[in-house]
């Protein structure tokens, strides 16, 4: 079933046209890179603020409220461009175990990011940043940095991408 879906995606005329154009694939790559820079950069700053090593003159809530919309904008850009690049080689990507690990880590990192986003105002009301908050911020940061490492390992290990 999944294999059929992959084959259908790979042969979809739109996907083929986009991925075989030099200019459009460059645009996809720029959207993917710039998107995850914005995504990881903004969540990392919020995590570092919760950990107490960034922007200490400002509340975590104020930093988070300013940056979280950009986290989601970055995610949308990275996800859409990533999906089109995936679709161009869907069967090869889904057959590569390291790519599946990447998707899993990105999903976990996203979940951690959402937990941080929702908890920041609550954590901020405590007299000092709770240990659980610092732990969660550390996990989120580690997962995002880990996601980048696994992403660069995809072509290195599987040869796809």
């Amino acid at each position: 079933m999944l294999l059929h879906l992959g084959e259908w995606l790979e042969h979809n005329s739109w996907i083929v046209a986009i991925n075989s154009s030099v200019v459009l694939s460059a645009i996809l790559e720029v959207a993917h890179y710039a998107g995850f820079f914005l995504l990881v950069g903004s969540i990392a700053i919020v995590d570092l603020r919760v950990l107490g090593v960034a922007a200490r003159r400002q509340t975590a809530t104020s930093v988070a409220e300013q940056l979280f919309p950009w986290m989601w904008t970055g995610f949308a850009s990275a996800f859409l461009s990533g999906f089109i690049m995936f679709a161009g080689d869907a069967t090869d990507f889904s057959g590569a175990w390291i790519f599946c690990v990447k998707m899993l880590v990105v999903l976990l990192a996203l979940a951690a990011g959402i937990v941080v986003q929702r908890s920041v105002p609550k954590w901020d009301r405590a007299p000092s940043m709770p240990i659980s908050a610092r732990l969660m911020a550390f996990v989120s940061l580690a997962l995002w940095i880990g996601a980048i490492l696994i992403a660069v390992e995809v072509p290195a290990i599987s040869g796809v991408g």
Binding site: F37, G41, I45, A156
Partner: protein, 162 residues
């Protein structure tokens, strides 16, 4: 070019390019640094442009991000230098690389420093001055051009990795 040859032949550059596992870690360093550097740059540029939330003024945001902005830059430069060292002789004649490092990065970097120094003054009035919006927009576009030049490097030389 003599420098590129020497650099590529140094012991550590050879061990990175000759190893299957080291190269992705160098890419990882470059991309992690860039996430901090460009993520924070774009957030400030967008704030100057007046796009997105206005929970913080551009000056507050720039101040909050300052230290990690430059930490990100330092990490990205270290990673980038190691990537360059792995096949320096192929990068030097590459037109996309020349455009990226010779023109786009110096321009974007100078503008970034000017913007960073001016942001406090620009934030004093309730309405962001037009010059500030323009500077934010140009910086944003310049960094996107830098990324475009970077992803185009392998198009000019198949020996260079994506």
């Amino acid at each position: 070019m003599a420098f590129a040859k020497w650099l590529q032949g140094t012991h550590w550059a050879v061990s990175i390019s000759g190893s299957d596992w080291a190269y992705p870690y160098v890419q990882w360093t470059h991309f992690s640094g860039l996430s901090l550097w460009l993520g924070t740059n774009l957030a400030v540029d967008l704030r100057l442009l007046g796009v997105g939330r206005k929970r913080q003024s551009a000056a507050q945001l720039s101040d909050a991000l300052f230290a990690w902005n430059w930490i990100g830059f330092a990490v990205a430069v270290c990673g980038g230098f190691m990537l360059f060292a792995c096949s320096a002789t192929n990068y030097v004649p590459n037109p996309a690389f020349q455009l990226k490092l010779g023109i786009l990065i110096p321009l974007a970097l100078i503008l970034h420093i000017v913007v960073q120094r001016k942001t406090r003054a620009w934030s004093e009035t309730t309405n962001t001055p037009t010059i500030a919006r323009l500077a934010g927009l140009i910086e944003l576009l310049l960094w996107l051009c830098v990324v475009t030049a970077a992803v185009s490097i392998p198009n000019y030389d198949v020996r260079l990795p994506r």
